[in-house]
Symmetry: C2
Subunit: 194 residues, 2 copies
DNA sequence: AAGTTTATTGACTCGTCAATCAACAAAAAA
DNA sequence: TTTTTTGTTGATTGACGAGTCAATAAACTT
């Protein structure tokens, strides 16, 4: 059976399975066996390719962050003008995909992981810097020297709105989430001269 | 040795120890034995009083929420005028106590817990409603019919700013956190008539 | 053809841990 | 003073889990 070149395939399957299992459990309390089983292989093979469970978590985190990055980039590609760019970032941040069980579980647990695992904290910092830079690109033409402060506020607001949206009972309302952030944005832009 | 009336004392010690251990581990991956040891008793006694680890977690969560509620109430007691009330809520939300390792660990992990444990979600919802109501009391005189939307935005912003502040490298800067939220508040209030 | 690299797993090690139980001790009630 | 209630723990159970290892097999190299 052993075909060569399985490594990337197996790794990809494990990463996906890791995210799914974290979403199912709602926590990092998932076993390597569970992950491996979902990915269709033995737990020994999972250890063979990743060495440890923590490596699997970090690979999963990188993947989630990559997906999100791709979503933002995709939205930005068709965006026109500063407002369009800002809106694109919001659309990507509150896209349906980010409200799927797996994504929610991933984000919440990666925040927890970042407390104690330096590499997790680093990855999160990279994502935040990229988000900030994207926001800044849209804000500078509109808000001038206030752009920096606004980008910080917007970034935090995005995380906060996301958090509340995923933790509330009932289905998340991404339109409402975008509206809250847009309201902030518009008010800040109007009050720019003050 | 057995003095009577130990139950509340033991339970309180266990709750405190649970929070400390969650802070130390940065996750809910703490054993009943660890908690019991820190609280100065056997793990069997911990089970005797709480029945299960999950009950200990929930009791710890209630305690953290109670502390936070008390802090807000204390700050509100000396606050004057709507602006003063809003400021008091911010002060309490970003007080040094909330940036202690134990508090950070508690909040992050309670968010995770809320995904899967209904009682945890309920407790979080109670806290959010109370926060909203406190914000609303300060906002209504200043923002009239926009108070509702602003309270939602402010609540989310508080959570988001807290999250970023605790996850960034280096010591948290509560003054900066308050400033970001105040900026949002002031801009929204100025733009009220628009 | 012999040797090497890659793929794969069942079985195993060594450890942990939540929860239970039997037993003991002291105070309160009867 | 017997009995019941409350406090307390060491020992145990029963289960699970991360990571290792030896063994098997296919493919690629020489």
């Amino acid at each position: 059976m052993p075909k060569l070149g399985m490594e990337p395939i197996r790794k990809a399957a494990l990463v996906k399975a890791t995210i799914v299992e974290i979403g199912r459990a709602g926590s990092l309390d998932v076993t390597v066996s569970q992950i491996a089983k979902r990915a269709g292989m033995s737990s020994a093979l999972a250890h063979h390719y990743f060495g440890s469970k923590e490596e699997m978590f970090l690979a999963a985190m990188r993947h989630v962050l990559t997906l999100y990055g791709a979503e933002v980039r995709g939205a930005l590609a068709t965006a026109e003008g500063p407002e369009g760019r800002l809106h694109a970032v919001l659309r990507a941040s509150f896209s349906p995909g980010n409200f799927r069980r797996e994504a929610v579980g991933a984000w919440l647990n990666f925040w927890v992981l970042a407390q104690t695992v330096p590499e997790a904290k680093r990855l999160l910092a990279v994502y935040q810097r990229r988000l900030r830079s994207n926001l800044l690109a849209g804000l500078r033409p509109l808000a001038g020297n206030r752009a920096g402060a606004m980008a910080d506020g917007l970034g935090a607001l995005i995380d906060g709105v996301y958090l509340r949206e995923v933790l509330k009972s009932g289905p998340p309302d991404s339109a409402a989430a975008v509206a809250v952030v847009l309201d902030y944005l518009n008010t800040e832009l109007k009050g720019k001269g003050a």
